[in-house]
Every structure is written in C-alpha cells, then in structure tokens.
C-alpha cells in the first residue's frame, strides 16, 4: 500500500472519527482491509494511532480540569488487563470472526449515534460505600451553564468489571471503544456527559498501549506503515476538533450514519462469505 494512500485514508479516518466522536480506528480498519491490508495488521497499526489521538485530545481536557483523574485511574486497572486479553485473543483467532465482530461493533455504534445521546444528566443521589471509599467525586466549570458543577460517581463495583469488557473489545479490534466506555461512565456510574467523554479519552491511551504491547511483540507493528497512519489520524482529528465547534449539522450526521452502516454491513458480509 502506498504511503500517500495510507496517509490520506488515515486523515479521513481521524477526521470522521473525531467529528462523530467514534475515534479513528472504527473507520480506519474497515477501509484498510478494503484496500487489501490483512485485518490483524490493520488492527495492530490502528491501535498505535489510538494512543496518539488519545494523548492529543486528553492533554487539553485534562488541563481544562474536566477529566476526573481518580475515576480514570481506578478504571484503567480493568481496561488494561482487558486490552491485553483482547489482543491475545486476536493473535490466535481466525480472521473471519474478527470481521464479523468488527461489523457488529460498527452497527452497535451506529445505533448509539442514531439514537443520539441525551445530554441530560441525573446525579447520583446515594453514593455506595465502595465508590465513596474510592473518592469518586469531583467538580468542573461548565461553560454553557456558566457555573461549577458538583457530581459524585456511583456503582464502581459494576463499572470496573464492565470496563474490563470495554478493554477486551479495544484490544481485540484495535479501536478506542470510547463509545462503550462513555456509556458505562454515563449510564452505570452516573457521571456528567462531559466528564464521561473526557475521562474515557484519558483511559483510551493506556488501554491502547496495553494492547499495542501484545501486537508489538507478535511482530504486527511495522514502523513504516504505522508512521503515516499516526500522522494522518492526528492531523485528521485535529481538523475534526477544530470544525466540530462550528459543525453540528444534521446533513453531516446523516452522512456518518450512512458510512457507518455501509461499513458495518460490509464487514459482516466479508466475515461470513470469506475475505
């Protein structure tokens, strides 16, 4: 695969990924396999670029003090082990199940994007003892509301094991699995939407690193291919975040929905019919 094609594909993946909030990998991997790359190599290269995009976006959110570091660092314990397990499964797995599973995750993302996440938030009324012991609480300055928002996180006993599952998906498929992590923060632990997304962003970095370590030792990461992908995805994500402020257009959303749906169905069909 030529450098130019790889670079261009990665820019588009990073751009679409950050605009839709899905991350670069979910677009990158199907397109790379479509262009003829082996799915395991595509997964391994994608997960390295996930580290870079996570570091890039998390750096800003952390300094803005929206990310909850304690929540992140508690949940990381579960996701890194999950990612390690997931990547190990990919190494021994056949290629066709990976296509099918990727297609299913794509369509699941499609559903969450289609239903459009509610921005309302119900605070945790009674914090359980474990979450209290874990000091899962915080506050941040909410710009649109113009006030500091106090919040508490709950149900850590459920959030932890579920994050292990999110880690498995991330390591297995070479994606950030951010949408899944946000859902766990949001629905299970009762964190405000902004804290959910930014904390998930931070966790994605170490989770992807854990998966990467497995792929590196297995010899699946070629620096010559990883370099243009990292640069491309970073550039695409950078342009995407800049534009996101101005573009909350319905046309754009519909475009993403069609793209995700087509990619999801295509991956499942390829998994069933054979590559």
């Amino acid at each position: 695969m030529s450098f130019e094609l790889l670079f261009l594909t990665s820019i588009i993946a990073g751009f679409v990924g950050s605009m839709s909030g899905m991350g670069g990998g979910i677009i990158l991997i199907p397109v790379l396999t479509f262009l003829g790359m082996d799915i395991k190599h595509a997964i391994a290269i994608s997960i390295v670029s996930v580290i870079a995009t996570s570091s890039g976006s998390a750096s800003a959110y952390v300094r803005d003090r929206i990310t909850n570091l304690k929540v992140g660092m508690f949940l990381e314990m579960f996701t890194i082990i999950g990612a390690w397990v997931g990547a190990a499964i990919t190494l021994v797995s056949g290629k066709r199940p990976l296509f099918v599973l990727f297609g299913i995750v794509l369509l699941a993302s499609w559903v969450t994007l289609f239903k459009q996440r509610r921005e309302s938030w119900t605070p945790v009324a009674h914090q359980d003892r474990l979450s209290q012991w874990l000091e899962l609480e915080g506050s941040y300055y909410d710009q649109p509301m113009g006030q500091t928002l106090q919040y508490r996180g709950g149900r850590a006993y459920l959030g932890g094991p579920l994050m292990f599952g999110a880690g498995v998906i991330a390591g297995l498929l070479g994606i950030g699995a951010g949408a899944l992590k946000v859902l766990i923060h949001d629905l299970v632990m009762g964190l405000p939407p902004k804290v959910s997304t930014t904390t998930s962003n931070l966790i994605i970095g170490v989770t992807a690193l854990s998966g990467t370590s497995v792929y590196l030792v297995a010899g699946f990461i070629s620096p010559g291919l990883a370099a243009p992908v990292i640069l491309g995805v970073l550039l695409g994500a950078f342009i995407g975040t800049r534009l996101l402020v101005r573009l909350t257009n319905q046309t754009v959303r519909h475009f993403f929905l069609v793209v995700l749906f087509v990619l999801g169905v295509e991956m499942i069909v390829r998994g069933i019919v054979g590559v």
Partner: protein
C-alpha cells in the same frame, strides 16, 4: 532520559496541580513524536525520493525496540528509519510516563496511599506487558 526528566519535574514543581503536570506530559509526548515522525519521513524522502518504508518487522518488546534503536543511532550511520522508530517509541511511552508521573504525584504530593497503589498496579501491569516476550 525523558523518564528521569519527568521524575524530577514532579519533585521540583510540587505546587503544580496534577492536571497541569499530566496535561503537559501528554502534550509534549504528542508534539515530540509528531516532530520525530515528520523529520524521519522528510529525511527519508530527501534521500530516496519516495516515502515508502520497507523493512522487516521484528517481534520485540518496547524496551528491546528502543534499546536496539538507540544502539544503532550511536554506532551506525544515522538513518531516517531510526528517527521514525524513535517517534513511534515516544508515542508508546507517553501514556506510560503519564502513569508513572501520576503514581509519583499520588505518593509524594497528595500522599494518597489508595491511588498510589492503583496507579502502581497499572504501572506494574504495563511494565510487565512491555517487557514481555
């Protein structure tokens, strides 16, 4: 080198908040890796006239990958490929340094035993998987 640097940074700037410290570690990591990758690729392009990199993938862990790269930089002719390798190593090392710095911060500045233990666990697991063969 970066590792020692950030360790010292944690100690000397104890008044800094953890958010600022972590935010800048991540930012520096991303910028440094981007610069290294661009320099490596541009140099390769200037020498060969194309951007295609073809070299065999060798299965090794991150520490072996870095030590081999540094040894080649020191001993042999300074090739663009080595700069690209270094850029990728920085990408991978950035979250690792972030976890290390968080652990030191929890241990020395916040004196929070619980979270020193949690980040210590993450650091140990990552170190183990990065040393793994």
């Amino acid at each position: 080198m970066r590792l020692i640097h950030h360790g010292m940074k944690t100690r000397t700037t104890a008044h800094l908040s953890m958010e600022i410290l972590i935010g800048y570690i991540l930012l520096v990591g991303v910028l440094l890796s981007t610069i290294l990758l661009i320099i490596g690729l541009a140099w390769h392009w200037a020498r060969t006239g194309h951007l295609r990199f073809e070299y065999p993938i060798v299965g090794m862990n991150l520490f072996e990958f870095i030590s081999l790269d540094v040894r080649q930089i020191v001993s042999g002719p300074f090739r663009p490929m080595l700069i690209v390798n270094l850029g990728i190593a920085v990408v991978m090392f950035t979250p690792y340094i972030r976890v290390l710095a968080s652990m030191l911060y929890f241990a020395w500045v916040e004196r929070n035993q619980k979270y020193t233990l949690f980040t210590g666990f993450v650091l140990t697991a990552l170190t183990y998987s990065l040393f793994l063969r």
